[in-house]
């Protein structure tokens, strides 16, 4: 479904992502892990059109989408969330989701349709009783859910989730995991960046490990967790960043 070919991104001499390739099939949940600054978000930005890769291509359903303008991606069925949450702060929860429901792969319909679609998704993401709250008034867990809801409203086939569990307590993390599973069961392929190891191991069927912009491992959770290179990166003393045990 998604194929990334030798993706490289250089920011003013800094190689943030270096020659990363991977492929993922339809229907599953894949994970991307690695220490802070490993280049995960940068890869997301290249897959979703926010950054042009310095080198390499991105293929989606066999089509080269690397040079598509950024607003065309939801029309192709690719939606994303942001690690640094970007709620539509002065709009309420319902309007946040309605915005998504007017775009992406939704046919051009009126407000009543968009609202109906949005209410469905708000119900699905457990935000129904907060639908009149302004986005800026929500707590972290609800803000993360709202990011998800707005992305879902564009009716994607592929959902890119950038650390949707960061900053959640264990109970909220469980709820978020359940939601991700539910989204996946509804037929949406998921690629998620996540630091919460429990979630990654539990949810993902395959995991890509990045370090200093390079792909150092790829495979099932067991394979990856037993990869000596991965163990060294996470437990070695070369940099202070570890995996949050949440």
């Amino acid at each position: 479904m998604l194929k990334v070919e030798s993706l490289t991104k250089i920011f003013r001499g800094l190689k943030a992502v270096s020659n990363v390739s991977f492929e993922m099939g339809e229907g599953g949940i894949s994970g991307m892990i690695g220490p802070n600054g490993a280049g995960k978000t940068t890869i997301f930005n290249m897959i979703s059109g926010f950054f042009r890769p310095t080198e390499g291509r991105v293929f989606y359903r066999g089509r080269d989408i690397t040079d598509l303008p950024v607003h065309k991606y939801t029309g192709e069925g690719i939606a994303r969330t942001f690690q640094i949450m970007k709620p539509l702060a002065h709009m309420n929860v319902l309007d946040n989701v309605v915005s998504g429901a007017f775009f992406g792969r939704n046919e051009n319909r009126g407000y009543a349709d968009a609202k109906e679609k949005a209410l469905e998704i708000i119900e699905f993401t457990h935000l129904a009783d907060k639908r009149h709250f302004l986005a800026k008034e929500l707590g972290t867990a609800d803000k993360k859910r709202l990011e998800l809801a707005r992305a879902l409203a564009t009716r994607p086939d592929l959902l890119l989730l950038d650390e949707v569990m960061a900053g959640l307590n264990p109970i909220e993390t469980d709820e978020a995991m359940e939601l991700v599973r539910k989204i996946n069961r509804s037929g949406i392929t998921i690629l998620m960046i996540e630091h919460v190891m429990r979630a990654v191991v539990d949810l993902c069927s395959e995991i890509l490990v990045l370090h200093h912009g390079e792909r150092i491992s790829f495979g099932s959770p067991e394979q990856v967790m037993n990869d000596p290179l991965v163990i060294e990166v996470y437990l070695g003393k070369d940099d202070g960043y570890g995996i949050s045990r949440n």
Binding site: S48, F50, P69, V70, H71, K72, Y73, T74, G75, A79, R80, F82, K86, P87, L88, A89, H90, M91, L94, D95, V98, S99, G100, F102, F103, G104, N108, G110, Y111, A114, L119, A128, D129, R131, R150, A151, A153, T154
Partner: protein, 330 residues
Amino acid sequence: MSKTGKIFLAALAFAIACLLPMIMGDEPYIIHIFIMSFYIGSISMAWNILGGMTGQLSLGHATFMGLGAYLTATLVIKADVSPWIGMAASFLVVGLMAAVIFYPCFVLRGPYFTLATIAFGETFRNLLMNWPYVGQGQGLLMPFGDDDFWAMRFLSKMPYYYMSLFMLIGISLAVWRLDRSKWGYAFKTIREDEDTAAAIGVDIARYKLYATFLSAGFTAVAGAFYSQYLRFIDPEIMMTVFSVEFVLPAIIGGISFVAGPLVGAILIIPLSEFLRAHFAGVVSGINIIVYAVILILVIFLKPSGLLGWLREWSDKRRLTRVPEKGGGHA
């Protein structure tokens, strides 16, 4: 407020507005204040499409107003075209002009965009100042004559009262519809966060273009009206102070509310006209000082404006009541 409550309030306001001149009788000065309120309210409403909904704070709207006024006046004087046609032409021509001229400015954010709009306004004002065809600094005087609907020419202020009222209602209805449309949501999403807008699939440049077109177009329509109502225009009408005057009602009422400019205009314009009439001899420019003070107060105390304050208050009341049961669909 409930939906029926809102409709009732709107109907009541409409009925009062229609009957007002009959109640007031022949008070040209009072009628004039109302006409100015409706006229400035219309432009503030139009400004809000770009400034409030889309978040691109323009201080160039006096220019769009002036361009509409000049285009219409020129058509009337030089080509004997009806101002009604001038109005429609203003919408299209000025809307398109604004969209084309602002297009390169869209990469500018925040105050830089605002500065560009001021520069744009000054450029046009100077252009008209020095263009003999449109009378340079002397401006243009509309032809005299008997009352004539087709020529939008009336001795009494009454027809202008209704014209400005219907103009305000028309633009308000358009904005109200826009607010609930795909375009409206694109505009608001851009205002809130351009990255999020792009991520859900909003073509930012394209929708900013639409917002500019509509905002400038409607403003030019009001400008066309202005030229026929006052029957005299000069480049002074494009001064940035007037742009500020157009922005004020929206900010006071609340720029994130469709009715914000309406509420603001009803409160501020009569006050400003009163000050201008009674104190202009004593302290010239007093209305501008008062504007500045009000603006500073609103921005510091309640940036969401009067309606924002009202909503917070009613939210608080709702939250202290027993919560309604269930989280079903609204």
